[in-house]
Amino acid sequence: GRSREDVTHIALVSKGFQHQFWQAVRRGARAEADENGVVLTFEGPPAETDVEAQITMLQNAVTRNPDALGLAALDSRAAALALDEAHSKGIPVVAFDSGVDSDIPLATVATDNAAAAKEAAKHMCELIDGTGQVGIVAHDQVSLSGTDRRDGFLAGLEEYGSGVEALEVQYGEGDQAKSADIARSMVTAHPDLKGLFGTNEGSAIGVLKGVEESGRTDLAVIGFDSGRAQVEAIRSGEMAGAVTQDPMQMGRLTVRTAIEALAGKKVEKMIDTGFLWYDADNIDSDDVQRAVYL
């Protein structure tokens, strides 16, 4: 391909591609890359369950001999081989989104999904003052982001809402229409449902639609991630609030860390991009505005 000598190439292999969260990561990374005149490639499997697809992408990325590599591993174990190869080729590796249990990555730019979801649970319990049924529409049943957020939220309910009963968790593949149908069914099936939680943007919007269509206005709806629809829903009060991570920041920091590593600078082992709760009150604050993507 291109002349490789002069330009620096950084390859990011992400957990996903099409979902808005990953697009936001991509935007942040691209911005940082452009500012530093770095050539960036960003790839991710169609679904967060396509572990093999990701390994193949990772393998191909390594084969391209980038100057640095960023990886959001769907499964650390599966990535091990390719990581070893990258290591032996002397390609610095930065892990992002979630840790890779391996000592090859120089740094990990991540956020704690479980803690974020727990935060959401805390607000949920406040909203429904600690009692009643809560439904969860998760985006994935197996992948880390899916399970961490689900379990974090459940743990949160345990902790903050003694009287809260969580319904059987349902999964909508992050597909808005499917999630909407699920939410509708939940609302119908449980007349005295108090609140609903969607574990990523697609699920959250789906829940929102489902509730809207079911005509209920008294439900506490909490989302995850951002995106225009959620932000607007929060402004209009249809959605009580949501936790968002800072995907663009995550992208930026991943690239920045890689560049620093290439420059031989000392990099922190653990960089937490954090998360924050936002609702109608704080939505216009700067740090929220910086965090949310539209």
């Binding site: 591609f17 099409q18 979902h19 808005q20 697009q23 169609p46 049943q141 319904l167 059987e168 968790v169 349902q170 999964y171 597909d175 808005q176 229409a177 909407a180 149908d181 699920i182 509708r184 069914s185 939940m186 119908t188 099936a189 007349p191 697609g202 919007i205 639609k209 269509e213 079911s214 995106g227 225009r228 629809a229």
Partner: protein, 335 residues
Amino acid sequence: MSTLAASPAREEAGTGRPRGPRRVRLQQLLAAGTLVLIFLAFSIASPTIFPTWGNIVTILYSTVVIGLLALGATFVITTAGIDLSVGTGMALCAVMSGMFIVNWGIPVPLGIVLAILFGGLIGLINGVSVAILDLPPFIATLAMMMVASGLALVISGAAPIYFEAPSYMGFSTGTIIPSIPNAVLVLALAAVIAAVLMSRTLLGRYATAIGSNQEAAELAGVAVKKWLMIVYIVGGLFTGLAGVMISARLGSAQPATGMGYELDAIAAVVIGGTSLSGGRGTIVGTMIGALIISVLTNGLQILSIPQEWQDVLLGAVILVAVFIDRLRRRAERTA
């Protein structure tokens, strides 16, 4: 009908004439029977919630998109073809609808029409691949499936397109008839049109003929290429409409959705009794098939069955449904 009278078949001949049409009606009645059965089962399992009007509307509403895709697929499958591009094609049409209405500011009604026509364009390309280039429908539409999902991302910049005009959302969520979302009316109307096309027009006849023996149809003077193209275009138009309906429901065009919808649509068609080997298509059946799927999905969710078991049960029930359908047909053949 002198010989008919004279033939050894005389005994039957009398009852014979009206039998054909009636047989078909009977069969669809029975297919509906399977649906009713499932419905009753859930009603017993959850008497207070499942059979309520509200939930029935939920079910109908959740049938719209798959239903529309299945309607289009019925024509294609009747010609012994298949269209795997309906899922991502739908997403692409939704995105185009967004481009037309949001980005280019084309008035909503026109934008909708254009989006539907764009679906027809996708169908046209499929039609050319199949009819002119003589490619196997499976592979031709599989390729289109990939191309469409890619283009949806490219055109939308991999970001959802949000619709502003309430009238657009109203096209799906509004209620011209109280308590019945327009989307359901759209589906009903589309089904009626499809039924007429299938059973009352040349399109349906020729699609069936092509499906049961393409060479024979050709030699009998049917313009096979032309009609194959038309069939795929019609399929594409339904895809386009589905794209409009789903984006109208969500208030945004989601470039990344659609994958997997094609299998549900085809499943609906087959459960409805249309044969994948062609020559036999029923619109009523397709609608019943689509309803069977969404009733099952909804019912299992209402009973809050764990997700993983839902898939298992869904699969099992579909098997049983189709098996019963088979038994019934065999019974008819030997009755």
